[in-house]
Symmetry: C2
């Protein structure tokens, strides 16, 4: 196994073909205002318009469709309180498979309802990692379901890589591709697509300062776990995985961090100027541009806008009233 | 002059060519969720992604670019507190012309700032129609500027018609085109594009129940003015015009009305499901679909999403907390 965790160019191309009938080929949006402000050409790959409102639909679909009939008959399972829970429930429903989702008892009602809406079978557990893992292990034992990890899974990573692949195919000559980093599924996939399909392209990840475990791991080249970080970017609170970290070390060029304030500012800017709903995690790479954390002048920059699932009754700028 | 107010097919095609280098060719979004809910195929023409955040950029640009050098040297003028004020300021700036904008003294600070940001020269007046008209007349006298009415102007109407033209060209075989109706610039333009370029297509307009002057006028075939209506759809509070009304009578098939509650519901649905920011006026046609006011089953339905300019600090669902 090489540093790509057995993900070869053909793995990504196959994933793209496999999931194409089910997922959205999402649009790329541009803005003269943004280009002028940063003397760059910025291309937003809008995965907020993806099925279930996030890129997670790609990886989950690729993983589910890679299983055989016997495996599918026992269903799939995961523990997640975020977009992966919805994505896996939705992907399983495409092939009439069961999706067993372990969710912490303090998960928001909206998220639980969304998972159930997509057909997921929810089991609640205590809001600790230990309880999540024990509960999931119990379900795997009882049902024979296949665990689909949110990011530490080569099929999931290959699926997430297809967002960057589409962007690279649609927008020639990109200099930089940016993505947020949490567990590293999107980032490792993005970096592999750039490595294989965008000669000379650089991958720059962005992470909240207050959840800078990926930055620490990358800088020290040693795995540093995430320790219950407090950030509004709820998709980026997790630690890197044993599969995602080596890929990131091998193929990502830079990780920059941004403040909470600038995440909210970037999110609001994208809402107001681009008229798109993006979730806080999605705004993190653009926050890095707004903060001047990367050289933009004269560059063609692609950004994966990772998702758009927000609670409209709980917007961050309400707290600043 | 025929009922189209001298707007022939070539007038609309010329407008499309004239403004193409300056405006956005906006994307058309679809949603399987919406299609499934209403057993239809629904296509959203996203003018919320248009320059200045609204279709108004089309009409204003066509009107400004139709003027000769002598006219442009004296500038353009209008009274408006809405999207037309921003659109005209922006369009004038494209050709380095002055835009004199009369705004009521109680206009929101955000809107005044936006107009100034696009280079508009703002003159405040009392918040009455009489004061707006007198103040504008004074400016026209002093400056020799050309008045560009927000909707009762054939060049503006021809410009607005290009949104439907693009949609008709991109999505073949539409059965129905929907647009909101306020002063009727967008609706009359849309109805002309359907009349000329979409054989057999029907035009259905939607209007707030609480500002149903267009519905009354259309039903009684007599002009009924708008009387300070109270609706959240702030773009739809105006009366039809002497040019827009006859076009609407001739080429619109139906006008339906919707409640305030359903406008807010439709707006929120589009934000949550489509991940796009739409302003209340833009949600009115979709509200008509949600309310079951039109037959959708088996139909291909295009909707002009007119704009996305909202104050993120003052969202309608906050009031329902």
């Amino acid at each position: 196994m090489n540093s790509s965790g057995q993900i070869e160019p053909v793995t990504i191309l196959d994933a793209a073909k496999r999931i194409a009938p089910f997922i959205n080929h999402t649009p790329v949006l541009t803005s003269h205002t943004i280009d002028k402000l940063y003397q760059a050409e910025v291309f937003l790959k809008c995965e907020n318009f993806q099925k279930v409102g996030a890129f997670k639909a790609r990886g989950a679909t690729n993983a589910v469709l890679s299983l055989d009939k016997v495996q599918l008959s026992c269903g799939v399972a995961t523990h997640s309180s975020g977009n992966h829970a919805q994505a896996l429930s939705w992907a399983a429903s495409l092939v009439n498979a069961k999706a067993f989702i372990v969710m912490p008892s303090n998960s928001s009602k909206i998220k639980v309802a969304a998972v159930k809406d997509y057909g997921g079978i929810v089991t609640f557990c205590e809001p600790t990692l230990a309880s999540r893992e024990t509960t999931l292990a119990g379900i795997l034992d009882q049902t024979g379901a296949t665990e689909i990890h949110p990011y530490n899974n080569t099929r999931v990573i290959a699926g997430q890589a297809t967002a960057a692949l589409e962007l690279i195919e649609e927008v020639p000559g990109l200099d930089i591709l940016m993505a947020p980093v949490g567990g590293g599924g999107l980032l490792s996939g993005t970096s592999l697509s750039v490595h294989y399909f965008l000669s000379g392209g650089k991958v720059i990840a962005a992470e909240p300062e207050q959840a800078n475990d990926a930055w620490s791991s990358f800088t020290r080249r040693v795995f540093v776990p995430s320790q219950n970080p407090i950030t509004i970017a709820d998709g980026l609170r997790t630690s890197l995985g044993s599969i995602t970290f080596p890929i990131i070390l091998a193929h990502v060029h830079q990780i920059v961090t941004v403040s909470e304030e600038s995440i909210i500012k970037a999110m609001r800017f994208l809402w107001e100027r681009m008229k798109i709903i993006v979730e806080p995690s999605s705004a993190v790479p653009f926050a890095a541009i707004m903060e001047g954390r990367i050289e933009t002048a004269g560059k063609r920059i692609g950004i994966i806008i990772s998702g758009g699932n927000v609670d409209l009754d709980d917007l961050p700028w309400r707290k600043n009233d």
